[in-house]
């Protein structure tokens, strides 16, 4: 999924996967921070986002 999304042009860094146990509070914080940082760095997504239908 990640492979194909990035292949069609979604920037790497927009999709993250992580296994976090309910006991891994620090890991959760780390992952959340990393995701937020990486996505912020990429800026707002414009591609593959449904807006008002482009129709006649």
């Amino acid at each position: 999924m990640k492979g194909l999304l990035e292949h069609v042009g979604v920037e790497p860094g927009r999709l993250h996967f992580s296994w976090i146990s309910s006991a891994e509070a620090t890991k959760f914080v780390d992952v959340a921070n990393t995701v937020a940082k990486e996505v912020k760095a990429l800026g707002p997504a414009r591609y593959f986002i449904k807006k008002r239908a482009e129709v006649a």
Binding site: K50, K51, R52, A53, V55, A56
Partner: protein, 345 residues
């Protein structure tokens, strides 16, 4: 009736000059095939083509079209009330439309513009469009316009008709709309006898090149239920993939679906082409589907075109013989063959 002759360069220049008065849709080479696109100075018109892959029906009846828009919620007193979307109904012209595709608009018009109801979008788009046809010097082996009341230089349904005489074009005005188009167009000179004679010969020779012509007259005399229960439908339908190629490429298929799309607090009611080949087309809310099986849907398509339409309007078949479905059906279901089976049943 105005009859003028243009050199090919003059013709293109004349069209360029008309861009102020009309949005011109012209055939443009787009990869492997041709498509009607707006003439906007970037795209070069190419009138040396057999026919466009998609019929020009989308100029008048787009694949997807916004009908209404609205806002949701309770705050605004106008919320939840549909407003008609604003549209551009300024003059357009389809230049280079083949006579079969122009005739198709006449066939479709009986559906969208009838004594009880007029489809406001189709009718206004149609009325604002001038159809400048280009006769077919070299019809394909899959063309059968002459079998369905048309021909390679058939004039009905066109506002003007162009004859490609090699070095020059002869253009004939056929209706008021066509005359207005010609009056605005610069260049050219009046046609002389020799040119008119050449056009006449061309018309005759082109008609003779149409080789396939399944007769459509016998269809009227048949009974709907006899044809409906005919044994050949299973065999006809076996290969069908139930895709929408035939219906979407067809200039005379008009079926549509209406969908609401919402983004936040704003929404649109959009109409999209639909196809009788899709199972969802007739699926009831209860789960019941009167055309659940492939064979029923294939039968519906051909019965509609070749029998129901014939009986309903008493004005020929719902087919203009363009041959697109014959050429592009992925599994080669050939309407000419089906028509013959229906004739002979």
């Amino acid at each position: 009736m105005t009859e003028r002759v243009y050199t090919k360069e003059e013709w293109i220049r004349g069209l360029e000059g008309l861009r102020e008065d009309y949005t011109l849709f012209v055939p443009v080479k787009d990869g492997d095939f041709h498509a009607f696109m707006p003439m906007n100075g970037e795209k070069v018109p190419d009138f040396d083509f057999q026919n466009t892959r998609l019929s020009p029906k989308s100029v008048i009846y787009p694949r997807s079209e916004r009908l209404f828009e609205y806002i949701l919620g309770n705050a605004d007193p106008e919320a939840n009330i549909l407003k008609e979307s604003s549209k551009d109904f300024s003059p357009r012209a389809i230049v280079g439309i083949r006579p079969c595709d122009a005739q198709a608009f006449q066939i479709v018009r009986r559906n969208f513009d009838n004594p009880e109801y007029r489809d406001p979008w189709w009718v206004r788009h149609f009325e604002s469009t001038t159809l400048v046809g280009l006769g077919c010097n070299e019809p394909c082996s899959t063309c059968f316009c002459t079998a369905v009341g048309g021909g390679p230089f058939h004039e009905d349904g066109l506002d003007a008709l162009v004859f490609d005489l090699g070095e020059r074009y002869l253009i004939k005005g056929l209706t008021d709309k066509g005359e207005a188009f010609l009056a605005k167009m610069n260049g050219g000179k009046p046609a002389d006898e020799a040119v008119l004679k050449a056009a006449e010969d061309l018309t005759a020779s082109a008609s003779q090149k149409i080789t396939s012509s399944p007769p459509t007259d016998p269809l009227k005399g048949k009974k709907i239920n006899d044809l409906f229960n005919a044994p050949f439908w299973e065999e006809v339908a076996f290969g069908c993939l139930n895709c929408g190629t035939c219906t979407y490429l067809c200039p005379t298929c008009w079926c549509f679906d209406v969908q609401d799309e919402v983004l936040g607090k704003e929404g649109d009611r959009i109409r999209n082409w639909d196809s009788c080949m899709f199972p969802l087309f007739t699926l009831h809310g209860s789960g019941h589907n009167p055309r659940d099986k492939k064979v029923q849907r294939v039968r519906q398509r051909f019965m509609h075109k070749l029998k129901y339409y014939v009986d309903k309007y008493d004005n020929g078949v719902q087919c203009s013989g363009c041959g697109r479905c014959v050429r592009y059906c992925p599994v080669n279901i050939d309407i000419r063959d089906v028509c013959e089976r229906m004739n002979n049943y």
